[in-house]
Structure formats: structure tokens, C-alpha cells
Symmetry: D2
Subunit: 320 residues, 4 copies
């Protein structure tokens, strides 16, 4: 193999740059050239790419975002788009493609793999940590820590004003972020889409805590649980207390990656290149029980990662 | 004077604790006792207070929020409320009261001063920096820096996705926060309530920049300019680009105060005690042109602080 | 079991408070009282302790240090000290003791277990991550991230001045911290006590990089590799470049724990209480391959945790 | 004037990039070209420079260090060096030069101005804040806040271990940094070169505090006060307590600039261009009493900025 391609796709996640750096430098150390496609799958279709050498990825390990830019690409969901991408990869003599992205991007990679001779390997990068087959995704640890710092600040106001705060965090349809954040900020309640909850119970807990002297509360709610504005109003009505909503928003996607996100990105990037050089295709890099593995891309795309509900139980026990 | 009181009122601001610490320790060094009233003016009315000595304020200089708690108090807007507070101050032998808070709290202090023999001195603490007569309020520098860090993170995503972001910051009816944040993050536009703006102009600038190769943009908008969700949609319509709204929210109120907010709090706290010991009443501590002064409480309450529009002009020149 | 004790000992590590909180609240939820001994083993010997209820550990999950204070205790290395501690535990009706600390503290726990009927369970908390049997210790992730932020800052100066920096990090006799930090800051060289290195090779690499256009370099050196001041001078002599030493020092021990250190502390604290309630004794809580286990205290104390040298190799490949 | 030059010189300071950005964009908006000289005065002598347009300074307002690199240049202290630089400026048709740097760099600018027709304007950028005629320099606020965050972390360990820490901060021969840091971390003592101190008094205070129940202490010492390692040992001997030294070091120079450092850089950069366009020469931009001024370069170089000792007195009163 003389040349591989690398692309970042979908929502950006802190550590994507560290993964690009690892792909480029490991490939280079094995005598393999790297081309970077720009703006996600759009760049594959438009053949918008540039050569990446060891110096092109200097000074990026600590930067959020992605130097290759990223996008969500509707045209890649059509046969025409996929075929154009496949043809570009062939014409560019790209002997293998590393796709760094979340579950939508991996689904795109699977689609592409079906019409394309070029071997493809996925690298899970997503702040949501919702990809089957890997205990953790690149960017998750960073997003959790960013949110935890924010909630620590909001707690200052919650305590000073003896107020209840609902803090909405990201995670799309899943509760991995909310659970990790809620447990580590010591939230009084954690609401995730995977587990039904009862607003009456939450409201009663808040009132009961108030009687015991705990006059403020933090409720961490995944964006996927529904209308958190309405939820906030209902809790205010039921408890009679001041309840405020804070939506953390896009800050969770950005910022310098944590050490752990950088480490994971480095390990994943190295593994991805190794897989391609070993002639593997349609696989996804993963970390399972603290070891780097790979799993089948198709299985990864059609399976649903379970939430560890024992952590939710622990969080509830600890938040008395 | 043998005893003074201190109270924090209204929205919390980082550095309030540093101000309490300064009041308590300076008073103590002059042989004056301090009682802290809890939960803002509620505590004055309910006579909910506790003795504060030098050790009571140990280890708080770096903490956000306020150890005395705070609240907005409706009853303090009635004559009954004010008279109860005045009576408590007299019965507690409080020879002077330091009120640490924003413009609503200073207005309350003015009301109280009209029915109360106890001399009152105000200390401007507000993330909004909207208090007449002082160049800066306790907490403003912290809120600016917190927001700037957030926007720096959002810029990662903006650049990676080549997207436009509208970032709504606090500041209530005024644009001090938005201006300071927008200038120092290098925002492409800054929208403040004090200066009319034209969405067509903003949209055209974004499109013009896009043609010149600048594909992302950050628009910092004060919460006081109106419905920023609608604004975001309008810019998206007019430009045809992806435009996202991020509301920074309550994180701007919390967190450890910056060095500057702690310094200002220390200087203000010291000055407030000194004023009371000098027999002054109905004044507000202030910083003007880098020097500590005091000004008349009534003038402070009825005057409107002007926004420095030359800074807005500079920001626009720099954000090409 | 009606009552257990908890103590933090040795060097402080961020997350100790989160572990105390977990021990206290899990015990409480099982109907077990908790007493906290103060100032490490000194408090066991002096029987300096206080009752800890769920409210005593409110608002501490995010704080560095330890509310129980800690110390290194010489007297605990004598038979008299151990016997006094054992007697206090018996007299206080403490049915089990949780020791939160590093390897010295666990060695002390082992010594105590030999003269004491009270079952003892260890919780590994140390920024050094040098405890056998657990993949990670409480505080390690925080110390790594703190150091990484520092080195990111130093890199600004290194690049601006085109200078070489030797950054000394903690870790005592071991290289776990240096390796994790070096890999994730993209250090040009990582020096750990476990692996011999050659200053000529390092110096030649720096000169070779300089010729290739990479004019600054970061060398992360564990404190355990020896005299880093001398090392710095030698590299300066051999290369003829400006080389500066920066010793990160105590900041690595403090600060708010990361989400991961808080999570680990919560899981460890819960497991420790569970072990005691199951009648276990002389064990150490651990995380292995992302699962919570426990192992034998004696084995933990006499075995040496290996450094993962494949990570060092990866770091070198990535730092071209 | 058709073209100006800009150079960063001496020790790097956070905000230098924001100043370069301001110089370039303001000049551009006035129709003036900008060339950036690289590596400080070395670049002036070697005529190593590049054209800077508005896009060259995109995305740098928030970055520490300097994109133009910097150096200390011995050759610039010779007549030959100065004359070469002067000739290059003339040959490059540079109609004015902005020098961004600390006091050594301004002294160099003064020397150059004596042999050179090209008007020169200085912009004070230094973490030390030791430049006469300006209340604040670019980078000072950032360095203070960085150090304050560090000391806040060290305090965790100091309290947990009930230990005394001497924290050495930068500032070269002056105490501006130490004073600002010490006051805002609530240090028990602040040692600056400008004010004599007595180790016996400090040691007695520590012992006296210990008796009153304050068992830890932070002493912030400027690097300029002498051998802080020896000082630490002496305090340990005199008090009999554990005393540790922590040297904050180079982290104080780096990192993203605070909002205030960015604002100052923007205001200074704009003023510098305006001065050159107004035909001014041999001046230094400054902020005095919160207003932007300029003063004479020679006066700036030969005068010594006084330390505000009243702040030291306040710090001592507050640190009881």
C-alpha cells in the first residue's frame, strides 16, 4: 500500500486532530503517503484533498475541531454520491481510507464500502459515546469534563440563590453524556432517554431535600429526554420553587481535548493504519476493557450500545 | 462604631466572597465587629444573621457565589419590609451597613436609607457592569473571561464546520458584557441594545466574508437585543448558510473569580468600611480611571452608565 | 456492622473527597455509621475523629485535597503506633476501616492489619498511578490533565522562542505520569526511570529535527530519572541550543478532580464499603480492564506495577 | 506612509498575537501595508520578514506566544547590528516600525531610533508589568491569572497537609507580579524586591497563626528577592514546620491571553498605528488611569516604575 486517505466527518469532536496526526505519522513511519479529504464526505465526492506529511500535523495534538474541516453531507446518502467518492478514491490510488467520525459517519462508511474496492476503517469520534462496540469514543472524555466544569460553576449560583437548576446536556438520543456528567457533578437527579422517570418523584425528592436542609439542586437532563423547558416549568409548578433551565450547548463540542481524548485518538489512529496495512477492511477501531481492538463495521452500525444503568443507580445512591 | 453589617443581594457575582472577606477583615483590624445578613434583603427583614470574624472568611477569596447567600426580595419593595429591616438594624446595634450587589440592590439600599438611621454604603457587584459611576463592577471581568473561553471553544466548531454562530451572552438590558466579549474573541459582529443594527447589513457582511474565504463567523449578541432565536433564523434565511444559536447562560455568573475581580472586591470592601468609619452614608464605592472613589448613592441609582461606542467601532475595524 | 472508619493518608490526590463522599453515603444508605479519622494515621493513633453523615460530605465532590486532612506519619511505622491505632479502632467500635491513599499508605494498612482485628480495605489514591493491581488510581487522570495544560502553555513559549524545554513532572520513582503526559502533549522525548536513555541520542534528535525545520522541542522527564537540572545543561552543551528547565511541581497534586477521577473515586468508595459489609478484609479496591475488582492487600504491597513500554514506543513514533 | 513594519521582541507575553492582529488590521483599514519581521531584532538585522494582510492574522487573537517568533538578540546591542537594521528598514521602504516587547526591547528600540530615520513606536508587552509610564502591559493580567489558578491548586495541598508553601513567581527584578498574585490568592506573606522583609517576622507570624488555628500558609515570593530555596529552608528551621518551595516557572509566560490582555493589545495596536500615521516617532503607547496615551520612548527607558506599596499594606491587612 502506497497511499491512504483520511477524512473527518459529521459533528466535530475534540481529539479528531490528534487522530489525524497519529494516522499521518504512523503511516509515514511505515512509508505510506497520506491524503486528507476536506469537509467530510463532501471532499470525497469533490475530490477535494491535500497531501499530509509529518510536518502538516505539527502543533495540532492539542487543538479542538479538525484541520480537515467536517460537514454533514446529504449527497453521500445517494448512490451517485457514493459512486463518485469510490471513483475518486480509485483514481487517487488511495489504497485504504480512514474515516474519523460518529455513528452517521460510520454508517456512511459502511454504505461506501459496499460500492467501493478501497478498504475502509472507521475510527469512532463523537462526544456522544453512542457507538456500539467501543467503551469510549474520541471526544467523550473532553465533553464530559467541559460540562462538569460548567455545572460546577452553575452550582455556585444554585447554592447562593438556593435554587433548582435543570442543566440540559448534549448526547442526541442517548444518555451517556448526561450520566457521566450527572454522576461526577453529584447531580440530585439524572434524566436519560433510556430510563423512564416520573416528574412527581423528582419534585417530591426536591421538596423532601429542602425540608432536610438541602435547598439547592442540580438536575442533569439529556437533550434526548424531550422538552426540558417544559420539564423545568413543571418542576417549578409542582415544587413551588424557583427552577431555572441552563442549556450547555455547543461549548461541549469544542475546546482542547483532554489527555484521555488525545491518548485514545493516538491509539485509534495507530490501530487504523495497522489494520489497513494488514489488509483488513470494513472494520471499526475500538477500546474494550482498556484494550484496543477492532470490530466489524456492519455490526457496529446495526447494533445499539447499552447504557450502564448500574451507574445511574450508583449516582442516585450517592446524591442523597 | 462597634458593629457593622454586611449583606449580598440580587444576582450573585464572582468576587462577592472576596468582598465579604475584605469587609470583615478590615473591620476587624479596626476593632469593629461584623454581622452578616443572610439571603439578601430577606435576611435584613427576618433578622437572619450571624457574627463574622476573620476566621469565618478563611478560604473563600477564590470561591464563586456568596457564603451569605443571596436572593431577590419582593417584600423589600414595600414600606413594611423596609421598616422592619431598619428596626432590625437599630435593634442589632448595627452602626453601618455594607450592601454588596447590583443596581436593583443599590436601589433597595437607597430606599432603605430613606427610612433608616443606619448609614449605608453600596459596593457594586454585578456581572453586567451596568452601574453608573464606576468603570467596573465586581464579577464583570470574571464573566467576560468565562464567556471568552466558551466562545473560543465554539469557534473550534464554527471553523471546523464552516458555520455561523450567534452566541447570546448575558447583560440584561445593557451591552457591556457583549461588547467586552465580542471585542476580545474577535467576533465578526457584536449586537448591543444601545446601538441599532441592521440584519441585512450583518447578513451581507457574512456573505461578503464568505466570498473572501472567511467561511465561519461568530456574532456575539447581548440578551437585551431581543429574540436571538428569531435573529438566528433570519440570518440563516438571508444568507442561506447554516446558522446556529448558542446561549451561554448561567455559567457566566459562577466560577472562581479572576484576579481582577478579587482585587476589585478587596479594594471595594476596604473602601466601604473606611467610608462608614468616616461617618459617610448613602454612598457607593467605585473605581474611576483606576482609582477608588465613592459617589452619591442616589445619583448612582438614577443615572444611566453610557456604553463606550468607540470600542464597538474598534471591534468592527478589527474584525475584517 | 454498625460503624466503619475512613481515613486519607499520605500525599493528597484530587478525588480523595469524592471517595470520602462515596464511602459515607453508601454506608449511610446501608444503615452503617461512618467516623472520619483526621490527618492520616496520626488521627488513628490520637483517636482524632468525627462522625460523618450524608450532609457532612455535601459540596465536596469537586474539591481537591481532603476534608479529613492527611499526613505522613512516622510513628505509624512503629509497633507502638500500630497498636495504639488498633486499640482505638476497637474502642471506637469501628467494624471496618477504609484507607484512602497511595502505596506508603497501603503498606501502613497492611502493617496495621497484622496487629488489628478490624478488617481493613484500601482505596488506591495517588497522582503517581504506581500501585500494583489497578490500572488507575484516584487523582492520576487529574494530575495528567493539569500537567498537560501546563505543557501546552510552555509550548507557546518554546515555539515563539524556538527553544528546547525540559519539563520535569512528578511520579516519584516511576514514569507513569511522565509517559501519559509526554504522549498526550506530543513531547519530542519522554524520559522515565524504567527505560534507559542516552543523552547523545536525545541531543542528536534535537539537532536533526532542527535541520528539518522543527526548531523547538519539549522533553518530558520524570522526577525519578535523576538530576534534571544537570540533564538540561548537558543537552544545552551538546546541542549548542538554548535549553530551559521547568519543574511543574505541586500544582500537579491539587485542583478540582477531573470527571474520571471523580468517577473512579465514587466506584472505589462504593466497592470498599461493599467489601467490608461482605466480611472481606485486607483487600484493595482496583480497576482492571475497566471493571471494579479487589485484590489482596499484601500482594498489592509487595508487587511492582509494570510500565506499558508499548506506549512509550508509540509516543516516539508519533513525535517525529 | 505606505508600509509599516512590526516586530515582537524579548520574552513572549500572552496577547502579543492580538497586538500584531490589531496593528495589521488597523493599518490595512487605513490603506497601509504591513511587513512582519521574524525572531525579534534578529529578523530586522537579517531582513527576515513577510507581508502580513488581514487574513494572515486570522484566528490568532486567542493564542499565546507570537506568530512572528521572538528572541533576545546580542548583535542588536552593537552599532553594526543597529545600522544593518536601519538600512534594511530604509531599503524595505518601511515608513514606521512598531516594536512589541518589554523593557529590553524598548531600550533596543530607543537605540535603533538614534541611528535610524524610520519612526519607531513601542508597545509595552511583558508579563512583568515593569515598564514606566503605563499602568499595565500586555500579558500581565494573563500571567497573574495563570499564577493565581496555580496557587489556588497548591492551596488544596497546603490545607490538606497543614503545610507552609513558598511559591516563587516571575517578575525578574520587580515585584508587580508577586504583589498582584499574592493579594488575590490571599497569601499570608508577599515578598517583593522593593520592600525589605524580615524572615524572623514572617516565621513568627506563621507560628502565631498556627496557634490561632491557621495551620497552613502561602508565601508568594518574587524571583527577584533572591534565593528562595534558601529562604524556604530558613523558614522551616525557624518555625519547625514542613515548608515546601514551588517555582511556578514558564507556565506564567504562556497560555491563551485573558480578555483584558487581548483588549489592551487591541487598544495598544490601534494606537501605535495611529501614532505612526500622525507622524509621531520615538514614543511608547501606554494606558494611564484607564485611558490610552503615549509617552516619550527615552523617558520610558530611563525611568523606573514605582510599586504601589499601599496594595502590599492592604494585602497584609487582609491576610490575617
Amino acid at each position: 500500500m502506497e497511499r491512504i486517505g483520511v477524512v473527518t466527518s459529521g459533528g466535530d469532536a475534540p481529539g479528531m486532530n490528534a487522530a489525524i496526526r497519529a494516522v499521518v505519522r504512523i503511516a509515514d513511519s511505515r512509508g505510506v503517503e497520506v491524503v486528507g479529504f476536506e469537509r467530510g464526505y463532501e471532499g470525497l465526492i469533490a475530490n477535494s484533498c491535500r497531501q499530509l506529511g509529518p510536518r502538516s500535523v505539527s502543533g495540532i495534538i492539542h487543538l479542538g475541531g479538525t484541520i480537515l474541516h467536517t460537514a454533514r453531507c446529504e449527497r453521500f446518502k445517494t448512490d451517485e454520491g457514493l459512486l463518485e467518492a469510490a471513483e475518486n478514491l480509485r483514481n487517487d490510488d488511495v489504497g485504504g481510507l480512514v474515516v474519523i467520525g460518529g455513528d452517521g459517519s460510520l454508517a456512511g462508511a459502511l454504505d461506501l464500502s459496499r460500492v467501493c474496492e478501497t478498504p475502509i476503517v472507521g475510527v469512532p469520534a463523537s462526544i456522544d459515546n453512542d457507538i456500539y462496540g467501543t467503551d469510549e469514543t474520541i471526544g467523550f472524555d473532553t465533553a464530559v469534563n467541559t460540562a462538569v466544569s460548567e455545572v460546577d460553576k452553575i452550582r455556585d449560583t444554585a447554592i447562593s440563590h438556593e435554587r433548582v437548576f435543570v442543566v440540559e446536556v448534549m448526547g442526541r438520543e442517548r444518555g451517556f453524556l448526561a450520566l457521566a456528567i450527572g454522576l461526577t457533578v453529584g447531580a440530585e437527579s439524572i434524566l436519560v432517554p433510556e430510563v423512564p422517570f416520573d416528574i412527581d418523584v423528582i419534585s417530591n425528592d426536591i421538596m423532601e431535600n429542602h425540608r432536610k436542609g438541602k435547598k439547592s439542586a442540580i438536575i442533569v437532563a439529556a437533550e434526548g429526554v424531550g422538552d426540558n423547558r417544559r420539564l423545568t416549568e413543571m418542576i417549578a409548578e409542582k415544587t413551588g420553587f424557583e427552577v431555572r433551565l441552563s442549556i450547555l450547548g455547543y461549548v461541549q463540542r469544542g475546546g482542547n481535548p483532554t489527555a484521555r481524548s488525545r491518548l485514545l485518538a493516538s491509539l485509534f489512529g495507530e490501530k487504523a493504519v495497522r489494520l489497513l496495512m494488514d489488509g483488513r477492511r470494513s472494520e471499526v477501531v475500538s477500546i474494550q476493557r482498556n484494550q484496543i481492538f477492532s470490530s466489524d463495521l456492519e455490526e457496529c452500525c446495526r447494533s445499539v450500545k447499552p447504557l450502564d444503568e448500574s451507574l445511574l443507580k450508583l449516582a442516585n445512591e450517592l446524591a442523597v
